[in-house]
Structures are given as structure tokens and as C-alpha cells.
């Protein structure tokens, strides 16, 4: 592998139902930063059916080029035609960095493609920067230190350990990036990218699966990742009916209700409200953890919140280890009174 042949920062511009996912813009924001010290360009790879018209919005968020693979086979996400498309783009255009969102799609596409193009993949990164590997040269082997490497930092063990990883001898350097962490740029209205159409051709094989049905969860709620205030409930809330209390608290604060995995598993709330390792990463100004014990997988998704308020009847609940303000007590009594009290305080202003 001639590493010098590989140039440019590429991102996978995920779209679902022909709508660009927020993570694509976040990746473009990060890619722009990474491209600067490398003195290179940012390319978005857009895969789908009838998606060409989406290229302009990628340009507005920082793409210099957009490679489009537009084919009816790519109408709905399936591992095989998508992996074939992305791996073919990588083999044809040879990027030095390939970023993919750590979404339910990217965490399937990323590993498949990285294995196909025989490179490393670092999962669920939260920090990406350009630097040296090893970080400090080995004495006597200064010349072997590699520069301009992608250094990928990721939490593991439910966020309790943190590792910085490099991929010095293979290209592209691939990472999946946790949604909600990287910052998108302010869109530049009217910006245009060079659009390159590429089609590697699709031949059906045993690896193609059939999509029998697409079942969408009916949800008209706001995205919890955008909320400034989250009122989050756990198993301790006791029943789906009791979530009414949390909804009322959220309403007076102009916030949104979210929940822990236990609540989703119990069928009380839909999956898209789930905070945590297997749900969403949130960083609101205020996070209320109500009846949430605080398993590390949950904490990993909310510990970056500015202020964490916890209410739990178990004084030993691990949530108190991360809460700024922890209250040991009965949520059924506290929450309704809290709502009334805040309502009164706001009315008095």
C-alpha cells in the first residue's frame, strides 16, 4: 500500500428517506478542521437513489467536492449495496481519512467497508485531531515517528476509559464518530461543490438481503439531541402514566422528555427518546435524571450536560456520582410540587 497516494478528507453523507442526517453536517464541520493542517480538500460521499439534488446542502456545510453514487439499488439502506458503493469510492478516489457517523447505519457500514478495503476502524470517536504517532518519538528512532496522522480518541467501557488510536500503516484512516459531538459550521448560503457522479455497477449476489417491510415509529416529538432542557425518566418513574409528571415539568421549563434504556425495554417510551450508549448522546444545559439509577451506559450519554439534577429514592444510586445537585427522595411527591413551584416562580417574573 503506497500511503502517499491517499489524499483528502472524506465523509460519508448519510441520508435517510432522501434527507441528509444531521451527523453528515457534523462530520463536514470536523473534516474542514482536519483538512486545514493537511492542506487538502473535504469530499462528501453521497449514496442513494435520486439524491443528486442533496449535494448543494453538503456544499453549504463545507464540502469542496461531492461524490454521488445514485442507483435504484440504493433506495433503502442495505449493508451490501451500500458497502460495495462506499468501498468502490474508496478504492477509486483513495482518501487518507474516511469519517462515518456512528449511527445505526454507520456502525454496520463502517466495519463492513473497513474490512473490505483492509484498513483499521476506530469506533464511536469523540475527539479527532491531526498529530504525530507515536505521540512522543521513541529515543533513537526519531525518524520513524509519523506526522500528520489522524489521532482518534474514543471512550470505552461505557465511558470509563479513554483511548487515543492511530492507524499509521493503512489507508484510509477510518473512524466512526458519535453523533452530537462535532460542531457543524454555519451554512454558507449558495456555496457550490464540484459534483462527481460515479457508479461502480451493482451485481446481485448472496449478500443482498430483501427488504420486506419498513416500519417507522410514529413520533412527533422533538429530537432530544437539540433540547436545551431534558427531563429524563428511568424505571423508577414506575409506569408509563407517571411520565405525565415529567412531561408537565418539561413543559413549564420549555424542555423535552427523554428516558433511560430500561424505559424503552419496558415499552413505556419509544427508542428515539433513549439517552445513553445504545441511545443518544445529549449535552443539554440542564439534565434532570428522575428515577434513573445511573448505569454507566446511561451516564456515557449524558455526563457532558452542563447541570445535572438527580432525584432518586436510593441514596446509593450511582447517578449521584455524576449529579451536580442530587436529591434523595420520592419523585412522585417532589416532581409535581417542583412543577408547580417553577410555574409560580416564572409567573412572578
Amino acid at each position: 500500500m503506497n500511503l502517499e497516494e491517499y489524499k483528502g478528507v472524506f465523509i460519508y453523507a448519510q441520508q435517510v428517506d432522501n434527507e441528509i442526517s444531521g451527523i453528515a453536517y457534523e462530520l463536514l464541520g470536523k473534516a474542514k478542521e482536519l483538512a486545514q493542517p493537511l492542506n487538502t480538500e473535504v469530499t462528501a460521499v453521497l449514496l442513494g437513489s435520486n439524491v443528486k439534488n442533496l449535494a448543494d446542502s453538503l456544499a453549504e456545510y463545507g464540502a469542496d467536492k461531492v461524490i454521488v453514487v445514485d442507483d435504484p439499488e440504493l433506495e433503502v439502506y442495505r449493508t451490501e449495496p451500500y458497502a460495495h458503493a462506499l468501498a468502490s469510492v474508496i478504492n477509486e478516489y483513495k482518501p487518507e481519512i474516511m469519517l462515518v457517523g456512528a449511527t445505526a447505519i454507520g456502525r454496520d457500514l463502517g466495519p463492513t467497508v473497513s474490512a473490505r478495503v483492509a484498513t483499521g476502524l476506530t469506533a464511536d470517536c469523540t475527539v479527532l485531531e491531526i498529530g504525530d504517532f507515536p505521540l512522543v518519538p521513541i529515543p533513537g528512532k526519531e525518524a520513524e515517528q509519523k506526522h500528520n496522522q489522524l489521532l482518534m480518541t474514543r471512550p470505552a467501557f461505557g465511558g470509563n476509559t479513554i483511548a487515543t488510536i492511530a492507524c499509521p500503516n493503512n489507508r484510509p484512516q477510518m473512524a466512526t464518530v458519535r453523533p452530537g459531538v462535532m460542531q457543524k459550521i454555519d451554512p454558507i448560503k449558495g456555496a457550490k461543490a464540484e459534483v462527481i457522479e460515479y457508479n461502480p455497477g451493482f451485481t446481485k449476489n448472496n449478500r443482498y438481503v430483501t427488504v420486506k417491510e419498513v416500519v417507522k415509529a410514529v413520533s412527533d416529538v422533538a429530537d432530544i439531541m437539540d433540547a436545551k432542557i431534558l427531563v429524563s425518566g428511568g424505571r423508577g418513574v414506575g409506569s408509563p402514566e407517571n411520565f405525565k409528571m415529567l412531561e408537565e415539568l418539561a413543559e413549564v421549563l420549555g424542555g423535552t422528555v427523554s428516558c433511560s434504556r430500561a424505559v424503552v425495554d419496558a415499552g413505556w417510551k419509544p427508542k428515539d427518546l433513549q439517552v445513553g450508549q445504545t441511545g443518544k448522546t445529549v449535552r443539554p444545559q440542564v439534565y434532570f435524571a428522575i428515577g434513573i439509577s445511573g448505569a454507566i451506559q446511561h451516564v456515557a450519554g449524558m455526563e457532558e450536560s452542563d447541570i445535572i439534577v438527580a432525584i432518586n429514592k436510593d441514596e446509593d444510586a450511582p447517578i449521584f456520582d455524576v449529579a451536580d445537585y442530587g436529591v434523595v427522595g420520592d419523585l412522585n411527591k417532589i416532581v409535581p410540587q417542583l412543577t408547580a413551584s417553577i410555574k409560580a416562580a416564572l409567573a412572578a417574573k
Binding site: G120, D124, I165, I311, A323, G329, I342
Partner: protein
């Protein structure tokens, strides 16, 4: 039919993570358990065995010799055979080298279906399952929340979970499925099963037993990703914790803090 379930022994984090006084992780204080998503995958395989007589379930793990504990636990739950892949030269493997190794072992076995957990609670990468499928040229369905088998037509129908939807997918066997914990509630070990488990022969394979695997793709040296720096994250210290005598007191405490921080 023949099913292979890939399982991993991981440190238990359920009862909370234990920390050393300096805020780093106390690994020694945590028990080793079967990874939860893998256990759901095993349960899915055992349910297929319950309803499809003649099904054989082989559990396979890669790790240190003590990883036989999870193989025996799986047999006690109802699996038929256990395979341990262990060899010093395989240590330090990243997901590429791990999946290459496991694929090399699986090439020695017959199978219609391979099930892995979606991800392990120590690494959380969710990569090894899809990468095994890639090395073996199999269809992969990740994030399975429901699995139905049609043995006659050699197909599986799987509900594949996404954030705001699921897809019902049909794949030809042999194929690989990665299982979510949501899939089921794993059974307990049976008394007879525990007895069987300690009688059971565990097949142990080393480097030499891997089929079609290049030395350049195994262990630490064969791992494309290299650790530049690793540390236990020192957690932000706990804030205040109060135990008020009445709900009124609790409310005035919270309202006071929210006012102080200009939230209200």
C-alpha cells in the same frame, strides 16, 4: 441446522463500576461475565434449537484460557459444543485481527447461521460481527430485534433496528446476525446443564488451527489500529447530595439551584 454463536467474556459493569481511590477503574474488583448482547444471541440460538429439532449450537470464544468459563456457562444453558481460540500470538488484536482470527476458526466448522452480539460492553465497537461476515463472504444483518427461521427455504427473517424505525429483512442462509439484548430474556443454566457443562469437552484451537489466515493479520502486530495513549477517565467529582426531610424542602432546594444558575 447448525448454529455458531460467538461469545466474549467481559468484566461485569452491572452492579456499578468499581474505582480505585485515584478515580481509575478497578478491573480486578469486577467479575467476569458473558457479554449481555452475546447472551441474547445465544438465547436466540437456543430458542431456534427448542423449536427446530436436530439443531446443533456451537459456542465459540477467543480469549485467555479462563474464557472457557463462559463456554461452560453457555453449555449449561443448552449449547452443545464449545470452542476456545487461545494463543499468545493472537493477543492484543484489534477488531480487524480479531475478526480475521475468528473467521479463520469458523472456516473449520459447518454452519447455517452465525450469531454474534451487537457489541461487547468493554470495547463497545460493534465491529467484529460485521467484519467476520465480510471475511467469510456472508450476508450480515446487524442490530436484530427479532429472528425467524424458515428451515425449508433456508432463509431468515429479521427485524433490523434503526433509531426511528425497523426494517424486516430476509436473507439466505448461511448468514450472520448480530443480536441486541432487547431480543429476549436469556434463560438460566439448568441443573442438568451445569452437570453436562463440567463433563463437556471444550475444543481448544491455537494459531495453527486457523484456516486461511495470514500471519500479517493476527495479534497486536497484525492490527491496523495502534493505541497511542490509553487512560482511565478520571470522573468529574460528584456534586452535592441532599436528603431533605420533606418534598417541600426538596423542591425549594432545586428551585434555589435553578434560580442561582439562571435556568429560571
Amino acid at each position: 441446522m447448525k448454529i455458531i454463536v460467538c461469545i466474549k467474556q467481559v468484566p461485569d459493569t452491572k452492579g456499578g463500576v468499581k474505582f480505585n481511590p485515584d478515580g481509575t477503574l478497578d478491573r480486578g474488583a469486577m467479575l467476569a461475565i458473558m457479554n449481555p448482547d452475546d447472551k441474547a444471541g445465544l438465547e436466540a440460538a437456543l430458542r431456534i434449537k427448542d423449536t427446530h429439532p436436530g439443531t446443533e449450537v456451537t459456542v465459540l470464544t477467543m480469549g485467555l484460557p479462563k474464557a472457557t468459563d463462559v463456554l461452560r456457562e453457555a453449555i449449561a444453558m443448552g449449547a452443545d459444543k464449545g470452542v476456545l481460540i487461545t494463543d499468545r500470538v493472537l493477543g492484543g488484536a484489534d477488531t480487524w485481527a480479531t475478526s480475521t482470527t475468528i473467521a479463520g476458526a469458523i472456516r473449520n466448522l459447518e454452519y447455517d447461521l452465525i450469531i454474534t452480539g451487537r457489541q461487547a460492553i468493554d470495547g463497545d465497537t460493534a465491529q467484529v460481527g460485521p467484519q467476520i461476515a465480510e471475511h467469510l463472504g456472508l450476508p450480515v444483518i446487524s442490530y436484530a430485534q427479532d429472528i425467524q427461521i424458515d428451515e425449508a427455504n433456508k432463509t431468515v427473517t429479521v427485524q433490523r433496528q434503526y433509531d426511528d424505525r425497523y426494517h424486516v429483512l430476509e436473507a439466505q442462509m448461511p448468514c450472520l446476525i448480530t443480536a441486541l439484548s432487547e431480543l429476549n430474556e436469556p434463560r438460566y443454566m439448568s441443573v442438568g446443564g451445569i452437570f453436562d457443562a463440567f463433563q463437556a469437552e471444550i475444543t481448544t484451537w491455537g494459531r495453527a488451527d486457523l484456516k486461511d489466515v495470514d500471519d500479517a493479520n493476527i495479534g497486536l502486530a497484525g492490527s491496523p489500529t495502534k493505541i497511542a495513549k490509553a487512560s482511565d477517565k478520571v470522573r468529574k467529582g460528584a456534586g452535592e447530595k441532599v436528603a431533605p426531610d420533606s418534598p417541600e424542602e426538596a423542591v425549594s432546594y432545586i428551585v434555589g439551584k435553578l434560580t442561582e444558575k439562571h435556568v429560571i
